[in-house]
Amino acid sequence: MPYVVDITADLNDDDGSGEIWALLDEARDPSQIEIGALVVAGREHAAAMCEVTGIESAPTRGTLVILRVLPGLVEDYRRAASRALTS
């Protein structure tokens, strides 16, 4: 399934610690990116649910976004939300 992500990131950067980095100028809607927000990060072919845990000024490209990769698949969250909202 192709994903339309909230913010582009490379999930290869997750070394198991759960933290990856992104750039705000690669967000689909930068206004959605704030500390504590749940977002879908990655690319069209691979994405993960993430929590925004940090926002910092970047050296040359505006703003860095620190993401904590949440366990499971994006599809798991959709199924869980679907169960909660229809029962």
Binding site: D15, P59, L70, P71
Partner: protein, 140 residues
């Protein structure tokens, strides 16, 4: 404005993987995605004060291939799988948690990115796609 983080603080004291060790990168990649990822890394990390143009890979070290694919690549429907010897033109830094490595680029220009993409080879299907490892858990 904050400074880049020093990747030296996240290096592991070990050698690069031997040439016959398998290296995995979730894909699919193009020169565009590789360049984008390298540039993003360079915004965040520096090595000896120089922005680090690098991309992430994992080596098949300390665990079987299928376990590595479940642990770190279950979200990728396709992967690039190659022997480390294919990356001999590039410096591999043992970064973060084993078996993560950073492939270092000099300029990340079209020529260098094309060489890296050729080394990665064509993407193949990930046999562990959407299989969750025991310690990753499921969200729902």
């Amino acid at each position: 404005m904050r400074e880049r983080r020093d990747i030296a603080t996240r290096l592991r004291p070990e050698d690069p993987p031997g040439g016959d060790v398998l290296v995995i990168r979730g894909g699919p990649d193009t020169t565009g995605t590789l360049g984008q990822d390298a540039a993003r890394t360079a915004e965040f990390w520096a090595l000896e004060g120089v922005p680090l143009l690098g991309i992430s890979v994992s080596a098949v070290l300390g665990m079987p291939l299928d376990q590595l694919l479940r642990d770190r690549f279950s979200r990728f429907s396709v992967i690039h799988r190659l022997q480390a010897s294919y990356l001999e033109d590039f410096q591999l830094l043992p970064t973060f948690r084993s078996p993560h490595f950073t492939v270092c680029l000099q300029q990340a220009n079209e020529e260098e990115l094309s060489r890296l993409l050729a080394a990665l080879g064509a993407p193949i299907l990930n046999s562990e796609y959407h299989k969750v490892s025991d310690d990753q858990g499921e969200a729902g």
